[in-house]
Amino acid sequence: MDQLLQALVSGLLLGGFYAVMVLGFSVIWGVMGVINLAHGEFLMIGAYMAWGLFRLFGMDPFASLVLILPLMFLVGYLLQIVLINRIVERPHLMTLLVTFGVSIALANLFKILFDADPRNVAVAYNGSVQLAGVTFPIVKTIIFGAALVIMVCLHLFLQRSRLGKSIRAAAQNKTAARIVGVDINRVYAITAGICIALTAAAGAMLSPTQAIFPFMGPPFTLKAVTITALGGLGRIPGALMGGMVLGITEIFVSTYVAGIGTNLGVATSFVLLVLILIVRPQGIMGGLRPIDAEAE
């Protein structure tokens, strides 16, 4: 019973992180139909930035978000303008190939810059609290809280603000959005900026809990695809739900399948992904657009 409860709590905490990790990926896919295969690499960059700020200035990873968010917004904005906007209306294959190329280039660039050695961010509060027989790791609980806050903010932004509305309009019907005066390229660039910034923020928050190395990205990209397929494109409640499902599944696999530990996370999510794509290709919850729209 205790083990079950512990697994549930750990799964939920992990799911919270997954939900915030997937937001950027899911919104980019939902709004412009681009599957960003370099998603994990931006997460990796965020983690390295948090590590660098921690090493140089002793800055707390959560405090360093103040710097990381605007900086990575700029990176995402520029990337979209320079690269992705040129091909966003061309066959899917091209954006897929370009983001794949970007991901390989970034991962190997960071390998050259920082070696392949795993780095750690050892924060002082890296302990855990016991509550009713269940262990709550402090950092992961903070991440969970921050994830909820970020999701609520993003949800409000997309639903209420003028800019958020134009982003949703661009996602739903690009032509109509153009007709009513939405500058699609600018909206795309802002969307990419927000999404890359959020992804890097997720990486920064992750940094105290996991070793940071240049090739940490692809598993996250893959998990992001799975969660998005579960929760629907660009849907924030969907991201939360999908993240929870994946987090709990992963923890249950590592708890109850003997002798494996947490090493089968990707394999688990891969099986989930293929099952979803085959059984319910439109995703479990639907979203900004059907998941197989424009599959070219």
Binding site: G33, P91, I112, L264
Partner: protein, 352 residues
């Protein structure tokens, strides 16, 4: 969705592109018997090459190039001709390498007498082909980007699994194979494999089987309506591509004498295959081999000395090629529609 001014962009681009249509007849000649004759002639010359008294380094370089050509051609069969862009093709390379490693070292759980290289090599290919059957049955049902991602997932998942299955694979520590150097043998073996693979691709492209694959790429539902058993065709193409990739993987493990999950199950190897096919001309017979040779010498000349830089350059180059030369060398120099991405682009430009 997806309307708006894409018409303008792609047509403008088509006009701006350097295109030499008078080369088109050369292409159709090359696709026919002339191409095969020239290819066999080239193979003959390459077979005589070691008799000119070259160093073992040159032989090693030769076998490396043959490996790349084989990989690129294999990838092109599924990614270019069938139109299923496989981002995890390195998984078959890895499986071939591991089967070779396990059989040759007689890894703990297996019965001892260890297998020799010549028994293990076909086993590598067969294992990879069987794995392709197993993984292809679910994943080849997925369309477009979902197939690509599912295969990328297969690759990353297999890397994890290879790390977990310590008794078989040595986990993260990897396996050491007996170092038996035979540069001349390697050269001829890979020359033979490369010759076979490219000839098979040439034959496939002319056969009804190959035309069916192209029909699947262009319009899968239409192909099915015409009575093509699309599932069977896709699976067979996938298995052929996987078989030879597995053979190359097994050979590579033997030549490298050391394998671990991070060395054989790497995305970079897939990028290499994609890259070389794209550069030469996706979906053509001679494009991928050409791309492979170009990439090899580019790597050697430009960034061979700087360790690790070539992978960054590879990623950047992929981006550049997709942006500026999506039809590859052959498509740019001749008939744009001879490469699959060229066709896709012109079709999207027309239909919207």
């Amino acid at each position: 969705m997806g309307t708006g001014p894409p018409v303008k962009t792609s047509e403008e681009k088509a006009k701006r592109k350097l295109s030499l249509p008078f080369l088109a007849p050369v292409h159709s000649l090359l696709a026919g018997w002339v191409g095969l004759t020239l290819w066999l002639l080239l193979l003959l010359l390459l077979a005589l090459y070691p008799y000119t008294g070259v160093s073992s380094v040159a032989l090693f370089v030769g076998s490396q190039i043959f490996v790349l050509v084989t990989l690129a051609s294999n990838w092109n069969l599924i990614g270019g001709m069938t139109g299923y862009v496989d981002f995890g093709h390195a998984v078959f390379f890895g499986i071939g390498a591991y089967i070779m490693g396990i059989l040759v070292t007689g890894s703990p759980l297996l019965i001892s007498p260890e297998w020799g290289f010549w028994q293990a090599l076909p086993a590598s290919g067969v294992a990879a082909a069987l794995f392709a059957l197993l993984i292809g049955l679910p994943t080849l049902r997925l369309k477009g980007p979902y197939f690509s991602i599912a295969m990328l997932g297969t690759l990353v998942a297999m890397r994890e699994i290879a790390r977990v299955l310590r008794p078989f694979t040595g986990g993260g520590v990897g396996l050491n194979l007996p170092p038996l150097l035979n540069r001349l043998g390697d050269y001829y073996l890979m020359l033979a494999v490369m010759g076979l693979v490219v000839s098979i691709i040439w034959w496939i492209q002319r056969s009804q089987f190959g035309q069916s694959l192209i029909a699947i790429r262009e319009d899968e539902i239409g192909a099915e309506m015409r009575g093509i058993n699309t599932t069977l065709h896709k699976i067979v193409a996938f298995m052929i591509a996987a078989f030879f990739t597995g053979i190359v993987g097994g050979f590579w493990a033997w030549q490298n004498t050391y394998i671990d999950p991070d060395v054989v199950f790497v995305e970079a190897r897939t990028v290499e295959m994609v890259m070389m096919s794209m550069l030469g001309g996706l979906g053509t017979v001679w494009g991928p081999p050409l791309g492979a040779v170009v990439i090899y010498f580019l790597q050697d000349l430009l960034w061979g000395s700087l360790f690790g830089v070539h992978l960054v350059a590879l990623g950047v180059l992929l981006v550049v090629i997709v942006l500026f030369m999506p039809e590859g060398i052959l498509g740019t120099l001749g008939d744009r529609s001879s490469t699959s991405l060229g066709r896709l682009l012109s079709r999207v430009g027309r239909s919207k």
